[in-house]
Symmetry: C2
Subunit: 207 residues, 2 copies
């Protein structure tokens, strides 16, 4: 299904719109105005109107946008109406925290297994398997795993990512403190906690 071409700047804001609209929906709101969206997200109201018009969202004067309609549009564009199977690589505290992070279910990501080299150190909810990393490539192929969440130590992250790429993984969500880039074949998001902490330090210093 071909979408109208949407610029990368708009794309970068879509997750913010989606999250805010989810909040509106959860609190029972059917309609939301561009000025509400604007003040919640710190984006100008005219920018909001322009962004939303890109995918057929047109607010009515004095009435606002239909929350359900926009959520459905955004779910389509962001691919959130598809369910993805995922594994976690690295069963330390971050990996274990992620394995029981309730937010996943809502986002249609199902954690199937946690991989580590020291199985005795790892615990996970009982519907999630705990397996040795040696079994990982075979498992990814056999179970059609889409997403790998990497939460290993820094020194193992890049080789784990390469192994996953060769096993045919489609996406990597990386929590190890080193940027992963696998070219055009694999979608990657790096959660840079240390960079965020550096920014926080900088902002504090400026106060």
């Amino acid at each position: 299904m071909e979408q109208k071409q949407i610029s990368l700047n708009v794309i970068a804001r879509l997750p913010k719109y989606y999250r805010y609209l989810q909040e509106c929906h959860e609190s029972g709101a059917n309609k939301v105005s561009s000025s509400n969206i604007s003040s919640a997200l710190g984006i100008t109201a005219s920018q909001v109107r322009q962004d939303l018009s890109n995918f057929g969202g047109f607010g009515q004067q004095g009435y606002g946008y239909d929350v359900q309609f926009l959520l459905e549009k955004l779910r389509n564009i962001l691919g959130l109406n598809e369910t993805h199977k995922a594994i976690i690589v690295g069963g330390g505290r971050i990996g274990q925290a992620l394995s029981s992070y309730s937010g996943f279910i809502k986002e249609n990501v199902i954690i199937k297994a946690v991989f580590d080299v020291e199985l005795s150190h790892v615990s996970a909810p009982k519907d999630i398997e705990i397996l040795h990393v040696a079994e990982m490539p075979e498992y990814v192929k056999r179970e059609n795993i889409d997403i790998a969440i990497i939460s290993t130590q820094k020194e193992f992250a890049l080789s784990v990512a390469e192994t996953l790429k060769n096993a045919g993984i489609k996406a990597i969500w990386n929590f190890a403190p080193i940027d992963i880039n696998l070219g055009d074949d694999v979608a990657v998001e790096n959660i840079n906690m240390s960079e965020s902490l550096f920014r926080l330090s900088y902002k504090m210093k400026k106060k």
Copy 2:
């Protein structure tokens, strides 16, 4: 100490430079070229040279930049040469994972206590106190806490942030799945895990 005014676009890249230079340093490199930095970070080499010249980093032709010199400059600008006392609010799995996240020490953040409403559910390394949230405002003032790491459920995050602001906190590092904004008084960094997952889903869909 007044720095030469540096644009916000440059500031946004400084944490990336810092993290990459740390890696160079850890691997024993004394010099690094702008083209190495460029390919590691996906920034053009001319942009790298322009950025680094802002704070007195001038590479030598065929020789490169002095890693130690740039690290020291960046530590100063980012405020990483100061030590900060921090607390964690919300002792669930994410909070507990953060309390034992080894990366903190290096970034000069010392976790002093974890606050929750259900103390019996919380464990933490033995040099970190576990306390009830009712004691939090008093503790923040008495112990001169700079940074609060919020890892509560979404519905408590905003009121916890307000309480911390009133207690005089300087910075909030937020892991709850809702954006916190406290105006100009408090430095805030939001780690938006769900937005990152939405972006990953979008990139996967585009493959």
